[in-house]
């Protein structure tokens, strides 16, 4: 079921979307260069969704697929965070980790509103 909801997106969440989109576009380019075309396209889609949310201002329409894009982006960035941490690149790991939390905040807010919408 496709469910579009209007969410309030806080400033720090929009910033996290911008950061995440930059990282995902870089990753997408790298994946394309090594021949992982499908994964490159997926990361590009996630980045586009995050760009749209970041550009939308305080209120943003998000549908089910867009919500999953945000969650998938958070999963990919968890891997980036963990890799940076393993390499003792701690500051970058912390920054990415904070953005992951903000993306998850958006996901949970969508889920809460979706629960109300499907029951009403």
């Amino acid at each position: 079921m496709e469910l579009e909801l209007t969410l309030t997106i806080a400033e720090d969440e929009r910033q996290a979307c911008t950061h995440a989109a930059v990282l995902l576009r870089g990753l997408s380019g790298g994946l394309r260069a090594i021949g992982a075309t499908q994964e490159a396209e997926a990361c590009g889609v996630y980045a586009a969704t995050l760009d749209r949310i970041a550009a939308s201002g305080e209120c943003c329409g998000v549908n089910s697929d867009g919500k999953v894009d945000v969650e998938q982006a958070a999963f990919v960035l968890e891997g980036v965070r963990d890799g940076l941490d393993n390499a003792d690149l701690d500051e970058g790991a912390d920054l990415v980790g904070r953005d992951v939390e903000r993306l998850n905040d958006i996901v949970l807010r969508y889920n809460s509103e979706a629960g109300k919408a499907v029951e009403s």
Partner: protein
Amino acid sequence: MLLAVGDMCGPARKNPGAAATAELARRLIAKHPDAMILALGDNAYNRGRPDEYRDHYTPSWGQADLLGRTWPCPGNHDYRTAGAAAYFTYFGEGRAGTPRRSYYSVPLADAGWHLISLNSEVEQDAHSAQLRWLRADLASRRFQPVLAFWHRPRWGSGAHRDSKKPRWFWNALHAEGAELALAGHAHHYERFAPQRPDQIPDPRGIRQFIVGTGGRRLQGRTKDTPNSEYARFDLFGILKLTLRPGGYRWEFIDVDDRVIDRGEQGVNARGM
């Protein structure tokens, strides 16, 4: 007696352990016919759709002998269907609640414990309806020792690591002397020492288990987490909990019927 596990069913290629853990549950239930099952979320991959529940959950964990004794909580993959609608339809209001009120409690009269299912996939902060409900439910419970379960762990050494959001659950549960918190989400088994919400070890704190070993491909360690006492990243299995008014016993049992981790503890002084 409770059997707890999460992250079970989906396409066989990515969920190679689901059938085996369901069979393990059957063997344990044959020895303990009154056992309840706690399904810790992400029950049907990848998007918790009706057809995924039908095609992947029903053939193993969704058979009547298991489903009829299952008390679930939703996971993030269940919410990939808007509002986790398929999850609520599949388990029904009497077991799962509703999309709007997706949490519930069950008094376990024989064991003398209070069981709480929470939803880590929706808002849970100070202003949320869920947290208000949790506080009221804890205040009015019949039995003191509390076991709460939800999908996303507060602390973890595997995939996804720690989640800050469930700190609200932890604060409320700890204030009422809760004993146990169970979660899935990360596909490994991990047991923590009792600890306070600020991660200070405390025998009167909450002991957390992660049991994301229900069938989805296992995941490895990503960090060392304070107060983690034992972890396995290489085995599918189920956590068996035996509750009694004065304490609890745990066993993590793998799909070859081996007891991998076991222990026992009295309920904490605040919980009595």
